[in-house]
């Protein structure tokens, strides 16, 4: 099997991640819910993960690291904190449903700016023109459907200039591109733990530039006599028992990323991307590629074959890709692929060029078979 769906979730992970999860299941209890050894060990593991994440994302205070279930949870928390019915919210044309659905549910007044694929200059010009209207902005670092790397640093700078609070969706960037809390100065930065950070599903992180408004109320292990959540982060936004086993695994995933380095991981994934582009060019396929600003994600279409059918046949032959709209209809609308979707290959730090070459050979054989028939 060749797994090319890391933009959805990592499947290949450092062995230390699995070991840490098993160890946590056997030895760690509930942090903040007791003073006994298993509870305090759990607390130490959770805090170590906060420290590791703080170091990776340049957050001076580890208590600004809030654990969530996933990026969607973090984005909901951030949007719940800043958006009320009628709030004017600017978003890019490449946002995921994890951004657009909570904004619709909150009754936001939405405007979309920047819709040309792989055109950061157009993105910046559109945002500069629209920001005077906005009160809040939400922007992804990387399009999950196309791997388009948006100029998030410049966008954050524009938001500061216009006094607009920014929520960053770092779902496809964390662990692959530099996500710098201090330089972005965003209100919130949300990310999953199970993609580029190589942790297990059910983990996520919200970097909090602001205190936030709790999305859930409940036990926190602190100030139990009070009927409101503790005022201090991270407990302020962390109601209920944390996913300690998942966080133990996430800790090891982040340690791996810090040791190997985001720049090295990005270079590797871009090498795999170039290999795939090279193998698939000249075959009659439509490849969605940018000159430079593209992460390890490649979307494509086959003019004579539906992408879902192609993905299904590839699955039968051991190649795992994702087809359709990738929960990002806005991005597909921007790219002109809303009606048919695309087939997406996404790469991982643990894939080799040989893996990608083999997968591309199978893809080419499959589409050529379909063309003959």
């Amino acid at each position: 099997m060749i797994y090319l769906d890391s933009a959805a979730t990592s499947l290949y992970r450092p062995p230390a991640v699995e070991r840490a999860i098993v160890r946590a299941m056997r030895t760690l209890a509930n942090p903040g819910r007791g003073g006994h050894v298993p509870a305090m060990r759990a607390a130490e593991t959770v805090y170590a993960c906060r420290e590791e994440a703080a170091a990776l994302f340049h957050v001076p205070d580890p208590s600004r690291i809030v654990f969530t279930m996933n990026a969607t949870h973090g984005l909901n928390l951030a949007i719940h904190s800043l958006v009320r019915p009628g709030t004017k919210v600017l978003i890019s044309g490449f946002e995921h449903n994890a951004v657009t659905r909570p904004l619709h549910a909150a009754g936001a007044d939405l405007k979309v700016a920047g819709r040309k694929l792989f055109d950061p200059a157009e993105m910046l010009a559109s945002w500069e023109a629209a920001l005077s209207w906005a009160e809040v902005a939400v922007c992804t670092c990387v399009s999950n459907a196309f791997g388009y790397v948006l100029p998030i640093g410049e966008i954050a700078g524009l938001c500061r200039n216009f006094g607009v609070k920014l929520i960053v969706d770092a779902s496809q960037a964390a662990g692959i591109l530099t996500v710098d809390y201090e330089s972005l100065q965003a209100a919130f930065i949300a990310m999953p733990g199970h993609k580029g950070l190589l942790g297990p599903q059910g983990t996520g992180i919200l970097l909090c530039g602001e205190e936030g408004v709790p999305l859930m109320q409940g036990g926190s292990g602190a100030e139990s006599r009070l009927q409101t959540m503790p005022e201090l982060l991270p407990e302020h936004l962390e109601a209920g028992t944390l996913n300690v086993c998942g966080i133990a695994g996430l800790l090891e995933g982040i340690r791996y990323v810090r040791e190997r380095g985001e720049a090295t991981i990005l270079r590797h994934e871009q090498m795999l991307l170039q290999r795939a582009v090279s193998e698939l060019s000249g075959r009659g396929l439509e490849l969605f590629t940018g000159e430079e600003g593209q992460s390890g994600v490649l979307s494509l279409r086959c003019p004579w074959m539906d992408c879902e059918e192609l993905a299904s046949r590839l699955s039968d032959r051991g190649v795992c890709v994702r087809a359709g709209l990738h929960c990002a209809p806005l991005a597909h609308e921007s790219a002109g692929t809303l009606e048919c979707g695309t087939l997406r290959m996404s790469f991982s730090p643990f894939l080799s060029a040989q893996d990608v070459k083999k997968a591309c050979e199978i893809l080419v054989e499959t589409v050529e078979e379909a063309k003959r028939n």
Partner: protein, 82 residues
């Protein structure tokens, strides 16, 4: 002599503990005894030597959110700061 520095949350106690450990203190984190915690379920750092310098360090780092207690032997803790 034992000193107890209380915090509102576990994470604040952990953050303070890291700072003090880096400054050379030997300490442990424990639950706040119920008679010392008005709002319930707090965490504290215990230090077995004078903790006044530790409190200054926490104040200078913006991590002083609680109180300082002291006890000798098995006597009850008595508040000494603020």
């Amino acid at each position: 002599m034992q000193y107890l520095i209380t915090f509102k949350t576990l994470t604040q106690a952990q953050r303070a503990a890291r700072l003090l450990e880096r400054a050379g203190y030997t300490l442990s984190i424990r639950r706040v005894p119920p008679d010392l915690s008005r709002s319930g379920c707090g965490y504290a750092i215990t230090i077995r030597k004078s903790a006044y310098d530790a409190v200054e360090l926490l104040k200078n780092s913006g991590l002083w959110t609680g109180k300082l207690f002291r006890r000798e032997g098995e006597e009850p803790f008595r508040e000494v700061l603020p």
